[in-house]
């Protein structure tokens, strides 16, 4: 358990360091610019504040300014990725009971068009006499991505850290990537995504995949913005059963927030596999077979279908 905790801490620290490094590198719009503070004259009005370590402090009002979010990563940086990382996901099928918390968290955080989903939870049954199971699918972030191969304008691209993203400011909406993806993971903004004004007006970021734009393709992005902050993707932290594990192949560790495993051991011990690996797409998402399940398979959707 100790070692597990340690590696998790390392993972988060590394993520934080990476995000700080990025913050330090960008020069434009830097909120920590020293000159800016020098030019402000004290107003004499003092405000009481609670500091991070719990002490009440007084600060001149003139020095107060809202701390902006970490500066957004430039398009060039977003296309390169987080250096020294190779992100992987492990999905433990024995833990999924199709609560779809992953899906709703993902839909909510990415403001996905209602009705469409980046994460889908499939009721699977491989053949007549085999056992049914739930299979959540994200984008596989393939190492040989068929979608990237066919994109005519480099709007969807593969990063050094293994993540496949979409530049919605460049996508021409030809939908060749949707035809090419064997995992049916890509969705299209057939109409205006109907976002709240403050989100729709943000400049598009490949790392947050927001705001989604009419006439372009969207899909699961592995939440690289969260990774930069050293946090887990929304689906991972939303799952109450700990089905999703996220981590770094180079560090050889994956975590679902509560448990951390050595990735190679986990795959070896539980006979992990990839989806449709015979196609040669080399997915970054690994599945653990649905053995010793935590829940029986109950397909309420099907029952409802039959009733109606």
């Amino acid at each position: 358990m100790n070692t597990n905790d340690k590696s998790r801490r390392e993972f988060i620290t590394a993520g934080l360091l990476a995000s700080l490094a990025v913050a330090g590198c960008s020069t434009k719009n830097n909120p920590f610019e020293p000159d800016a503070i020098d030019s402000i004259k004290p107003s004499g009005k003092m405000v009481k504040l609670l500091s991070v370590d719990g002490k009440v402090i007084e600060v001149d009002e003139a020095f107060l300014k809202p701390v902006p979010n970490l500066p957004a990563v430039s398009n060039d940086a977003a296309r390169v990725g987080i250096s020294g990382k190779k992100f992987v996901m492990v999905i433990d099928l024995s833990r999924c009971k199709s609560l779809k918390k992953c899906q709703s968290a993902c839909d909510h955080m990415h403001h996905i068009h209602p009705g469409e989903n980046w994460i889908k939870v499939y009721p699977m049954q491989d053949s007549e006499h085999t056992a049914p199971y739930w299979q959540p699918t994200t984008c596989m972030h393939c190492d040989e991505p068929p979608c990237v191969k066919v994109c005519p304008v480099d709007a969807t691209f593969k990063r050094k850290d293994g993540i496949v993203l979409i530049d919605s400011d460049r996508c021409i909406g030809c939908r060749f990537c949707m035809a090419a993806c064997p995992y049916s993971t890509r969705v299209f903004n057939w109409e205006d995504p109907g976002l709240p004004k403050e989100i729709a007006e943000q400049p598009y970021s490949c790392e947050t995949s927001m705001p989604q734009k009419k006439g372009t393709v969207g899909k699961c992005d592995f939440c690289p913005d969260m990774a930069r902050k050293g946090e887990l993707p929304h689906c991972v932290s939303a799952c109450p059963n700990g089905t999703f594990f996220f981590g770094d192949l180079l560090e050889d560790s994956v975590t679902n927030g509560a448990e951390t495993f050595r990735f190679s051991d986990l795959i070896k011990d539980k006979a992990g596999y990839q989806l449709m690996e015979d196609l040669g797409t080399k997915p970054s998402v690994y599945y653990l077979p649905p053995v010793n399940r935590n829940f029986p398979f109950e397909n309420n959707e099907q029952k409802e279908d039959k009733k109606s």
Binding site: V150, I172, R175, K214, T216
Partner: protein, 435 residues
């Protein structure tokens, strides 16, 4: 050859003003185009939501229409280039018909692909961010090349005719005369010019063949380079090309019949032409049938899990009626009609040609859509309407409008220029008389 005979040929083949029928026809096509344009404006403002395409069926009749246009455009290279290079003389009166079908079709192929784009406003990205590894870029390159070669192949043989047309100012009217002057006043029929023109035409005829093969092969690769059941086939290039020659030849037979009847060209487009084109059509239909058997029998023999649902859907499932309709109308019936000598008379040949064109259009739909309804993973977590596809009125309007647009180009061309090459007909008649 006597001057009066020449005069007769020229007068027969001069472009004629639209009669009542012609005007109604043009108005009809224009209305269809306008309705299509209105539908497209709606699509531009609301997005592709106005179509019935959704995440599973992400390509619908726009793409099948595109494939159809690319297919029918191949006929220009068949009639003009292949038959010209193999010294098939009887095809001369058909060259211009074939070439204008090509130009009209390839123009609308390009337009319809822009219509299918989610962001047509970013079309320029293809040029500033284009990546050569994408088959779409290959398609852009070969279609553009084919378009220009086809235009030139239409234009160069037109030059001697323009010179003839310039002599008939009273008949053609002032406006057209200016157009002819603009296009061809530099042509003086000097031996040097003729030599250059003939050489240019030969070069174009040779280059257009690989380009024509390329456009249709690359178009088939838009599908065959994916993993999807029904598309993942090494047969696709040849399958598409054979189908393209078939529909193109069918289109030419239809156009031959219509022009012959409307412009009273019985002397120039003879029954013999229908007989010969009928034989060509039978051969092409058999060839396409052969590739169809390859395309369906081999996977059906194995019935791999991923292919099975798709194939059963076509053979006996939800697409069975459409599938067998396409096979019957595009191949079997035309073969049965045209294999008989009586069937190669103008009217039955026209019927066979029409069947080929209709069946082929439907066939393109079957190539695109059923595959998309059979993804590897089951359709899941989507609204119910995502699981089916039937084109919306906007899609129909745009597809029909584009077909009408192509017909309009052909019609207007035949109004402005002689649809049968005058100069070539005269020289060939002369050569025949000498021989």
């Amino acid at each position: 050859m006597e001057n009066s005979a020449k005069q007769k040929i020229t007068e027969d083949l001069l472009p004629q003003k639209f009669g009542k029928q012609g005007k109604i026809w043009v108005a009809f096509l224009l209305i269809l185009c306008i309705i299509g344009f209105i539908a497209y404006c709606r699509q531009l403002s609301k997005g592709l939501i106005v179509t019935s395409m959704r995440d599973y069926v992400s390509w619908g009749i726009y793409i099948s229409n595109f494939v159809f246009f690319v297919a029918i455009s191949l006929v220009g290279s068949l009639i003009t280039a292949v038959l010209r290079l193999t010294n098939v003389e009887w095809s001369t009166p058909l060259t211009r018909i074939a070439e204008i079908i090509s130009v009209a079709a390839i123009t609308f192929a390009a337009i319809i692909i822009v219509v299918d784009m989610g962001r047509p406003d970013r079309f320029y990205n293809l040029f500033i961010h284009g990546r050569l590894q994408s088959p779409i870029i290959w398609d852009v390159i070969v279609i553009t090349t084919y378009f220009f070669i086809s235009i030139l192949l239409l234009y160069f043989p037109l030059l001697p005719d323009l010179q003839i047309l310039l002599r008939f100012k009273e008949k053609t009217g002032n406006g057209l005369n200016k157009l002819y002057k603009f296009l061809g006043s530099f042509w003086k029929n000097t031996p040097a010019q003729i030599k250059i023109s003939n050489k240019a035409i030969s070069i174009l005829c040779i280059t257009i063949i690989p380009i024509a093969f390329a456009i249709h092969t690359v178009t088939s690769w838009l599908f065959a380079t994916t993993y999807r059941p029904g598309w993942d086939s090494t047969n696709f290039g040849a399958y598409f090309i054979s189908g393209a020659f078939l529909v193109g030849a069918g289109g030419v037979v239809v156009a031959m019949y219509v022009f012959r009847k409307h412009y009273k060209l019985e002397k120039y487009i003879t029954e013999d032409h229908f007989d010969k084109m009928g034989k060509v059509l039978v051969m092409l239909a058999l060839l396409y049938l052969y590739f169809n058997i390859n395309e369906f029998l081999v996977p059906a023999f194995k019935m791999k899990k991923s292919e099975k649902e798709h194939l059963i859907g076509l053979f006996t499932g939800e697409f069975a009626v459409v599938f067998w309709f396409a096979i019957t109308t595009a191949m079997i019936l035309p073969i049965l009609i045209l294999i008989l000598k009586k069937g190669r008379k103008p009217f039955p040949a026209f019927i066979a040609g029409t069947l080929v064109v209709i069946g082929s259009w439907v066939k393109r739909y079957l190539i695109v859509t059923p595959t998309l309804l059979h993804p590897f993973l089951p359709m899941q977590d989507v609204p119910n309407e995502y699981r089916h596809y039937f084109p919306s009125w906007e899609e129909w309007a745009i597809a029909i409008g584009s077909l009408a647009g192509a017909l309009l180009i052909i019609t207007l061309f035949a109004r402005i220029f002689p649809i049968i090459p005058i100069h070539e007909t005269i020289t060939e008649t002369e050569e025949h008389e000498k021989a």
